[in-house]
Each structure stands twice: as structure tokens, then as C-alpha cells.
């Protein structure tokens, strides 16, 4: 970990705690506790393993610093993007019926869906409130510009989420249906993090645009990689069952490729739910039909586009190096 990351990561946690402390009030302690549990700070299994990697706030602060300004005043924006991410995780876990996150019971498992919906809503509201804190350091016009970007991004998240859920019951999908879904679900927020960081870093318009592209392609590459790991990944490095994407019937890129081939994989897939025992052979069959190579090529292509965009953005100093390292770490990840 670079020296810069050693400053950024604790500053991000402190800022997030400060934002969430708006709920640390009489009668509301148990509600506040639900948010701090979800954020990984309290309750069973709390600690660095439970907080997630804080990729989004890091991207925001690093793009800001790599544009040549101090990252400290951008902290509320970094908190805002992480709060948006966590709002979407809490609702996602309810929607997907996911019982574990970072190896811990999810919020709805601990407190039930009604309270967990409210936890997600509160995280979302807190992201809005965090943004308003930017007024202390930035002109009102910049704050509104950043807010507009984040709100548009949140609408993209709901669009992606809708597509993801609506795809579950459909078997008439093509590969073309894949990209709008992950653009909304994954890439939009990473693009916004980089764009917002660059705006607050006073980058010129062209640099803001390529930083945004960088985040967008980073998000696409990351998601496509995740689709590969979800079927052919090593359980010990990903921390989740490699069988899960096929078992859950997720319409990931390899599956959509396999369906388009209309071969033995598609026949079995369309034949109804799989048993755990069938999964390894079907994953192999899918690879034999070319889905793994196709998906890896797509991931490589998105990775190249991300790296090219970052090069064009020409990030400066230690922040620039750290940003490149972070991107490489995310794109070459094994788990």
C-alpha cells in the first residue's frame, strides 16, 4: 500500500462515520447501529474484512488529486459515492435474497426486509446530504453540477437494476441486452466517481471526459471479469461459491453467449433449474462452446479502453501512480 493510500483510507472512514452520525441521536441508536453494522464498523465480524475496498471513494479522491488539487475538500463527495454504493447493496441484497455479504449476515437477514429497506433509504439520503457539505469548499455551481451527475447516475442504477431483475424471467435475450444492464448497475457509478473527482480537481473539460470514460470502462471490465469468476472462478479467492452464477440463473455475459449459440448448454439451460451436481459439467460445456474465451476477450477489450482513457487523462504525481496501480489491481484481480 502506498503512503497516499495510507492517508486516504482512514480519512474516507472518518468522513463516512461523520456523515452517518447524523442518525446518532436519542431514540435512533438501534437505527444508527444498523447502518454502522452494514458499513462494517460494528456488530459481528466488524473490521477491515467487512468494510469493502472503498474503491469508489478512492477513485474520487485520486482523480481529484491527480488533477493537481488537494483531495481533502473532496471528502464529502467521496463519502457520497460510497453511500450511494452501499444504499444499492442493501436494497440489492433484499431484492436478490442474498443472505451473506463479506461473509456476514446481510442487513435484511438480521433485521427483516422492512427495516432494511429503510436502512438503504437512509444511506441514500445521507449521500445527498454529504454532497451539500461540498458547499463549504466549492462554489454553488460546482456543487450543483456534481449533484446532477450523481443523481443521473443513481437513475442509471435503478435502470440497471430493473433490467437485471426483469432479465431473470426472460429467455429471449441476446448479448446486446447485456451492456445496458451492466452499464447501469456497475459502470455508471465508477464513471461518476472519476468524473466528479476530476471536476472537483478543476480538470479541463477534455480531461473530465476521459476520466469519466476511464471509470466507465473500468466498471465494464470489472463486471465482465466478475462474470468469468462467477462461473469459472476459484472459490477460495473469490470467497463465494463458483457455482452460484449458474445455479442462480444469472444472465451474465457467458450465459447470454451460450444461449446465442443454441447448443447443448442452451438446451440444458432452457430445460429448467439446475442441480448443484450438474454445475461443473455445464460450466465446462459452456467453456467448450467458446463462452469463456469470448468473455475474456470482452474483458480484455474493456480493460484496454480503460487503460487508454487513463493514459489520455494523464494523471499527475503520486496520485496518478496510485490511480494506475488501483486500476491495474482491479483489472488483473484474481478474486
Amino acid at each position: 500500500m502506498t503512503e497516499l493510500l495510507e492517508s486516504l483510507l482512514p480519512a474516507i472512514e472518518t468522513e463516512l462515520q461523520r456523515q452517518i452520525a447524523r442518525l446518532d441521536q436519542p431514540r435512533l441508536e438501534p437505527f444508527h447501529d444498523m447502518l454502522t453494522y452494514h458499513m462494517g464498523w460494528s456488530g459481528e465480524g466488524a473490521g477491515p474484512e467487512a468494510t469493502g475496498k472503498r474503491v469508489r471513494p478512492l477513485l474520487t479522491l485520486l482523480t481529484s488529486a491527480a488533477s493537481g488539487t488537494d483531495w481533502q475538500p473532496a471528502l464529502p463527495a467521496a463519502a457520497a459515492v460510497e453511500l450511494v454504493h452501499n444504499f444499492s447493496l442493501v436494497h440489492d441484497d433484499i431484492q436478490d435474497n442474498s443472505e451473506k455479504r463479506h461473509g456476514r449476515p446481510t442487513t435484511w437477514v438480521k433485521w427483516g426486509a422492512p427495516l432494511a429497506i429503510n436502512v438503504g433509504d437512509a444511506l441514500f439520503v445521507l449521500s445527498n446530504l454529504a454532497l451539500t457539505d461540498l458547499s463549504e469548499a466549492y462554489p454553488a455551481e460546482s456543487v450543483l453540477h456534481v449533484a446532477q451527475i450523481l443523481h443521473e447516475t443513481c437513475l442509471d442504477l435503478t435502470r440497471g437494476q430493473y433490467l437485471d431483475m426483469s432479465y431473470e424471467s426472460r429467455n429471449d435475450l441476446s448479448i446486446d441486452d447485456y451492456w445496458p444492464m451492466i452499464a447501469g448497475k456497475t459502470a455508471a457509478l465508477l464513471a461518476a466517481c472519476c468524473q466528479i473527482g476530476a471536476i472537483l480537481g478543476e480538470a479541463d473539460e477534455a480531461a473530465v471526459a476521459v476520466y469519466r470514460d476511464f471509470g466507465h470502462y473500468l466498471g465494464l471490465a470489472f463486471q465482465v471479469q466478475d462474470d468469468i469468476l462467477g462461473i469459472w472462478g476459484d472459490e477460495t479467492t473469490t470467497g463465494k461459491s463458483t457455482a452460484s452464477d449458474l445455479l442462480e440463473g444469472k444472465k451474465s455475459l457467458p450465459v447470454l453467449f451460450g444461449l446465442s449459440k443454441n447448443g447443448p448448454f442452451a438446451q440444458r439451460w432452457l430445460g429448467g433449474p439446475l442441480t448443484i451436481a450438474e454445475v461443473p459439467a455445464l460450466a465446462e460445456q459452456l467453456a467448450r462452446e467458446g463462452a469463456r474465451d469470448y468473455t475474456q476477450q470482452a474483458a480484455d477489450q474493456m480493460t484496454d479502453l480503460a487503460i487508454q482513457s487513463l493514459r489520455l487523462a494523464d494523471p499527475q504525481d503520486e496520485a496518478g501512480e496510485t490511480l494506475s496501480d488501483l486500476a491495474n489491481r482491479l483489472l488483473k484481480r484474481e478474486g
Copy 2:
């Protein structure tokens, strides 16, 4: 209906439709349809009966106009408060397991909770985006001020919602626990509507404060009235079963009063769930113990405070009269 209301109501619907049309895009039609269904514009039972009364946007536009400015530029703010209200209704219906709203199946009943959570999230995001449209007519500082108020209000909504849900399983509550809950759930948004309208209407600080008080007390009075109707109301005018609040175990003001008396009502209440057959006699018993009079007095007191605040705000012209009429209609409502 006054001439002014005849202009305002269709303008509000048009503005809401314009905001929600952000989701009217390829692949997203069914998602857009879920929002237009909830708003009362499409699907079974669509029409004026299904839209609700649009009290919140009316308050925003009327306070703006009663401060002496045009109401038209404030339309995005009016849409924003109504979208916030509807976001909270969609999530509320899931959380409360409510199957009907305005006599129609709720969103989660029609499409399931996962998609309905996303519909609520989208309505919330759209309220944020609506606010950013204010930049076309108002300085960035005013837009940020209004946004800050609405975000604080949304946090109040989640606080109130948490209290409401957490009270369900508690029998150690006192009357003091009632007010923070309804202040968040009901009064905060009405207060924000009036405050925002006054700010956009360029009212001076003192007038903004009393308009805010007006909305706050209006909300409290409205909710306390609703508690009375929920136990002793006439089913034919309220459109919901009068038994429902007692049957559902709702910790409304009359119930908290009855529990504090620790008499026959409290004994039966603490004895476990009621049957429908027991409800009429228990409602009478609760009235005999003084709960109905006590609650009516509280409603009258809040009504007086609302009317006094409105008088202090000194609303002008036709908008001022319409605002007073609207308040009277809400406070003296039979259903």
C-alpha cells in the same frame, strides 16, 4: 374549486409526468409503466381517484404564489416534494404489507417487492433530479438551499419510519414517544413544502419560518385527525376499514393514551392480537377511558397553531385565500 386550483392541478400533473418521463426509454417501458401506475395515470383504476390530492405540491406552489411571485418556475420543486411523498408510499406499502392504495392493488402486489423497492428508489432519484431543474429559474445558492431542506426532510422521513416500525413490537411506549414519530413521518414533509415554497417566493426569513411552522402543525393536526378516523371514523368517508388501526396494532395517539391509563383497554391490548369481532367494543372502551376526547383536543390544539402560523405568514391575494381554504379543508376533513 377556485380558478387558481384549476390552473395548478393540471400543471402539477404535467410537470410530474415530465419528470417521470426520464424513464420513458427503450427497454424500460415496463419500468416506466410501474411508476405511472403508482402515480395513478395508467393501468387498472387509473384516473383522478387514483392520483391522490397532490396536497404537497399545492402547498409548495401556493406558498410561493402567496409570497407574491409567479408559481410556474417553482413547478420542479412541487414535483420534487410529490415524488418524495410517493417514494415513501411505495416503500411504506411494502414495509406495512398494505395491499391497497386508493382502492387499487399496491405496486408490490402487482410486481413483487423486489421490483417495487426499485420503483420507490427511482421515484426518490427523480425527486432529486427534479430539484436540479430549478437552476433554470433560480440562483444556484437558492437551489442548494432548497435541496438541503428537502434532503434533511427525507432523513426525517427515514427517522419517523424507523420509529413507527420499531414501535410495533414495543409495549413500553408513552405519549411522549408519539410526537417524534409523526413529526418525521407526516409533518416534516408538509413543513418542507411550505418552507421551500416561501423561499422560492422570496419571502423574508421571518415569513419563511412561520410558513414552515404552518406546514409542521398542519401535518401534526392532519395525522392526529387520521388517528381518530383510524379508530372511530366512518368507513364510508375514509374508504378504509375503521377497524384497521386497532386490528393492526398501530401505536397511534389514542392507543398510547389508553396504554398510559392502564385500564381495561390496556389490559385487553396487552393480552395479544384482537379479533375483528372485539374491535367495536374495544374502540368504545377506549373512548370511555377518555382517549377520543384527549386526541381530539390535541388535534384542535395543532389546528389552532397551524391557523395562527398561517395568519402570521400573511399570505397574499388569491393564492393566500386558496391556501387558507386548502388548510381548512384538510383540518376539518371528515374523510
